[in-house]
């Protein structure tokens, strides 16, 4: 893996920035160069949120991308807008609990993850982003589960054990 360009998009509040940040953090722990670039502004008003993550063995010049090795969409507007960004043969992750439509392209690898349903089954729909994160790690191996768990230990330090357990279970829930 030389350079992996990734893009995550969804409604504000779905935790898409968290997915990207966890991957960036884990990749850094693995000694990689990373950039994490979130959208910003008064997103709180029901708008969309997205972020770009680049992971590389060498130093990264532009943190902006126009095509991606991995696109993850958590809502329909994001699918419509960003499906075209996926490089041929590369990955598209679709949250099929929220998006009933299928991808239109057949030259890419699309994974449908019913993230919200799985998370609900584990007791809290809010962990849908962690389910998606787990699916991405499992299918692409962009970072290791070990590194992600390490990140979670740090970010959830001081949180209730039940919260930590929920997120860890969510991470490994998809197969």
């Amino acid at each position: 893996m030389a350079t992996q360009k990734m893009f995550f998009s969804g409604f504000g509040g779905q935790g898409v920035l968290m997915i990207g940040r966890n991957i960036a953090y884990a990749a850094m722990l693995e000694g990689k160069e990373v950039t994490f670039l979130p959208s910003y502004g008064p997103e709180m008003r029901g708008g969309t949120a997205n972020c770009t993550v680049i992971v590389s063995d060498k130093s990264i010049s532009s943190p902006l991308i126009y095509e991606a090795d991995l696109v993850c969409v958590m809502n329909l507007p994001s699918l419509i807008k960003f499906e075209r960004m996926v490089k041929p043969k590369k990955f598209l992750f679709v949250n099929s609990s929220i998006i009933s439509q299928s991808a239109t392209r057949s030259d890419i690898q699309t994974a449908y993850v019913n993230a919200n349903e799985i998370a609900k089954g584990l007791g809290n729909e809010k962990a849908a982003n962690m389910v998606m994160l787990g699916a991405i790690v499992k299918k692409t191996g962009v970072v290791s589960f070990d590194s992600i768990e390490h990140v979670m230990e740090k970010t959830f330090a001081g949180k209730k054990q039940s919260v930590i357990d929920l997120n860890r279970n969510a991470l490994h829930a998809w197969d």
């Binding site: 940040r21 960036a24 953090y25 850094m28 160069e33 990373v34 950039t35 994490f36 670039l37 979130p38 910003y40 502004g41 010049s61 532009s62 943190p63 902006l64 991308i65 126009y66």
Partner: protein, 358 residues
């Protein structure tokens, strides 16, 4: 070396300032630098410093003037329209020769403009938006690590030159995250040391001299003499504070000039052009004032065109043209309003331009 941490630009600015000797921070909310003001509101008092949320940027810069006049190492930050409001104060501070560090996390303009990243404050910060003859050294980082290094050094630099130092970042650097290594904290100047280290500062006549901080000079002769003295300092600064980077300019047929985040995108464009067999290079001004004119003397005669790539309508191009001095054609690739071009867009536009000169 300490370990790498993943930090958001805005928070890294604050951490670097504190480690660099900042004891006082004054701010007022404005996007895209709010996380810095928020970080300082949490951290300053914990780290032995002081935080003030001012009622406006007009107040911020004048509180900073007061802090600097009293000998404190002070940091102010804002974004474009807020920096505009500070111009009167900055002019005053330059005349009074006070050290201060100011950060502009810039966005699109004019007017209230927008909140996405921009570089349209180039003229505002390099020309000095306030009245009178003065200069402020301006440095533009292209990464979070570089921002950290600049802010870490900025406080001692300001003290040394007794002048404001401006860092021009933008919304992209402020909002993004990158792994960084943080420098060891410096020991900040304590209030007790001020009288000894800064005898010109206001700490009371008991220190043995009387300090007056001022900019009023009613006699034209006095004012002229004062301005000439300031300019001796600026001329020195023009020699000593110039900073830039170059990449592959030795045999380049197209040379980009670009600063800050745009320069990072251009770096990728240079790789893309190189793959096509086109020799491309980059001059990245790190100090915007003084502008690195000397870098342009290194351009080879085979250079066909110089392209200024910026997020505004070509403000830096004026300086580029002056530096190129008619030796090569100078063209512009730009976006504005908060739009950042992708490497693909710059690449395509550059190829088109190059086609005209080949």
């Amino acid at each position: 070396m300490s370990e790498r941490v993943l930090m958001k630009g805005n928070e890294a600015f604050g951490e670097a300032a504190i480690r660099g000797g900042c004891r006082y921070y004054v701010g007022y909310p404005i996007t895209p630098q709010n996380e810095l003001t928020e970080f300082m509101s949490r951290e300053m008092s914990k780290r032995g410093g002081k935080f003030v949320q001012a009622e406006s940027e007009l107040a911020s810069i004048n509180m900073a003037y007061g802090i600097a006049a009293a000998g404190g190492n002070v940091f102010v930050s804002s974004a474009s329209p807020g920096i505009a409001l500070m111009q009167e104060g900055l002019s005053f501070i330059c005349s009074a020769e006070l050290p201060l560090v100011a950060l502009n996390v810039s966005r699109g303009g004019p007017g209230i403009g927008g909140i996405q990243p921009g570089q349209a404050d180039y003229n505002q910060v390099t020309r000095g938006g306030g009245n009178g003859d003065y200069h402020i050294p301006v440095f533009a980082p292209a990464s979070i690590q570089e921002s950290i290094d600049m802010l870490y050094d900025a406080f001692s630099l300001a003290d040394e030159w007794r002048n404001p130092i401006m860092i021009l970042a933008d919304g992209m650097i402020g909002q993004m995250m990158e792994p960084v290594t943080l420098p060891e904290p410096k020991i900040p100047v304590s209030e007790a040391e001020i009288a000894i280290r800064k005898p010109w500062a206001l700490s009371g006549t008991k220190k043995g001299n009387r300090s007056v901080v001022k900019s009023l000079r009613m006699q034209p002769n006095d004012l002229e003499k004062h301005v000439e003295k300031l300019f001796e300092k600026y001329r020195q600064a023009e020699k000593e504070l110039v900073k830039y980077d170059t990449d592959r300019i030795e045999d380049a047929e197209v040379v980009f000039v670009s600063f800050g985040t745009t320069a990072r995108i251009v770096s990728e464009v240079i790789d893309m052009l190189t793959e096509d067999g086109i020799k491309a290079g980059l001059i990245r001004p790190i100090s915007l004032w003084p502008f690195p004119e000397e870098a342009f003397s290194k351009l080879n005669p085979k250079t066909k065109v110089v392209i200024s790539a910026e997020l505004n309508m070509g403000q830096m191009m004026t300086d580029v043209k002056a530096a190129v001095c008619g030796r090569f054609p100078v063209r512009l690739i730009n976006r504005t309003g908060g739009i950042i071009p992708t490497s693909l867009e710059i690449y395509e536009r550059a190829k088109k331009i190059l086609g005209e000169y080949r």
